[in-house]
Symmetry: C2
Subunit: 317 residues, 2 copies
């Protein structure tokens, strides 16, 4: 598995690429698109004046604008990098500017709802290839992005049935150029898979950090001081962008509630084992979960270093 | 805050230090005790022949033995580094070998139960100063240890009321020599604090990894491939030692059930907000949890680098 981005492409995948929303994901796309020559001309579209001026300072794009309709004009590819809940209104705004043959894509963490929101605004002769790069950090904004964010991470495409194979192939080529591995599935299956691998973990993390903050018998300062016992791991994803995550839960309700129901049932079983002192049940449960960690490390989706490599074993003596 | 171990002490804290159990914690103590000259002579006691031969190969101790009674003879300090559930029987076995004035300590993640198990076997004239270094990784065994494991981590002492201040001061000096910051509290308060900062996070992590493994509609290979969306964070602590964690839950039942009850109540509230589409409640909850992350980073208990620094922003382009 490559550990760095390869050389720039000799021919860009797209002539004109418009990115809407220059947060962590959008600005990382701008950076890798520039570095890998994935597009000849990059248009950055953002509603926030602060973001636009920062994007200009960082020289992340060739054109910077706040006008969606104007910004997408003549683009071969438009990628929506806004929170899930904003996709419908952005799609409506861009409709009038889209050129024939353009590819519309997005990076949303939910796919069923985005398809429902965006598809009505896709004109005849324009291709819609929804995408979700399974990559990110807990940080937000144009300064948080970096060009290797997508390197060795999966990007899931959920093209509608019968979508133009050429449009799907170019979208795939774009993500592969960014360093990703690409897989295709239906929006419904995507939403189920991500409910367990991403949405539920975030909900649980947000929840336990809230529970800890509300205790009376344990002070907040104790929670913080003694967080290295495990708690601090959860605080990282509980520091993720609140708007993005509110929208994820509002837009993937059914799958999240389904996974949450299973999680709660399983937790009740562990709770019962603790209450009745069933050491064997606990031991068996704790043993089988080790194998999954091993597999994740084997396929390169996490660091093999203990403690995520936070504390170098030999580096700081 | 120092980022490396200081120079060796000119005078060791203990003349003869006996470590019982040479896993991650015990072997890290042996390493730092040697490197920092915290003890003149180190005795390694382990019931496993495999562990003993590995400890000898790694030259972690001056004396290596499987005999507890004999191993603790003439030791100024004996530290139990075995799973919580094994402390009572180990204490019974060492009783006959202990010298007058010796300090007995331990590293268990639960304190009330260890005090109850060990105290009956502490002879008159021997000092018992229970300790818990809040440090670790998900790995186990004598090869997993490293000398900086305790650096900048808190170690909690729970000395019984009226314990000899000299014995407490020497135990404190030992842990400070290992790079730790030391705090004292009662065993009951310790068990409550750790229930939220360590025990509940482990239970939740073990649980969600189990839930994911049992799904029918999402394959195990999908769970593994798309784990970078958040799930992989939980698999790290769910890969921790099953025996150790079984014993923690069996021996801190009341505090864990109390925290679990609160966690479940809070989760029901979030679940209800998702079901009824209450975006404001979700947004408010997700906003207040960010501050805790910031505080943990500010006091040096976690890395400020995004994604725990797993993926260097500029290091691998």
């Amino acid at each position: 598995m490559p550990d760095r981005l390869g050389p720039p492409l000799t021919t860009p995948v797209f002539d004109r690429l418009a990115l809407i929303g220059l947060g962590l994901i959008g600005s990382s796309l701008a950076r890798v698109a520039r570095q890998k020559n994935l597009a000849r001309h990059i248009v950055a579209i953002d509603a926030s004046e602060d973001v636009r001026s920062r994007v200009s300072e960082l020289k992340l794009a060739d054109t910077v604008t706040g006008d969606v309709t104007d910004g997408v004009r003549n683009a071969d590819c438009v990628i929506l990098c806004v929170p899930v809940g904003a996709c419908g209104s952005v799609a409506e705004a861009m409709q009038a500017g889209l050129k024939q043959g353009a590819i519309i894509s997005d990076v949303g963490s939910v796919k069923g709802s985005i398809v429902a929101q965006v598809e009505p605004y896709i004109p005849e002769g324009v291709h819609f290839v929804p995408a979700h790069p399974v990559a990110g950090t807990e940080q937000s904004g144009p300064d948080a992005g970096f060009p290797t964010l997508f390197l060795n991470r999966w990007c899931i495409l959920t093209p509608p049935e019968g979508q133009d194979p050429q449009a799907v192939a170019r979208t795939r080529a774009f993500w592969e150029g960014a360093g990703s591995m690409v897989e295709e599935m239906s929006p419904a299956h995507h939403d189920l898979v991500l409910a367990i691998t991403s949405h539920l973990p975030h909900l649980i993390a947000y929840n336990i950090v809230g529970t800890a903050a509300d205790l009376e018998a344990v002070t907040q300062s104790e929670v913080i001081k003694f967080s290295a016992g495990g708690f601090r791991d959860f605080t990282r994803i509980a520091a993720s962008d609140p708007t993005m995550w509110r929208d994820v839960f509002l837009n993937n309700k059914d799958a999240v509630l389904e996974m949450l129901g299973r999680f709660t049932e399983d937790l009740s079983a562990l709770q019962r084992a603790i209450r009745y002192g069933d050491g064997e049940a606990l031991f068996n449960h704790f043993t089988r979960t080790r194998a999954i960690r091993r597999s994740i490390i084997e396929i390169g989706q996490d660091s093999a270093a203990p403690d995520f490599g936070r504390q170098p074993k030999n580096g700081n003596q």
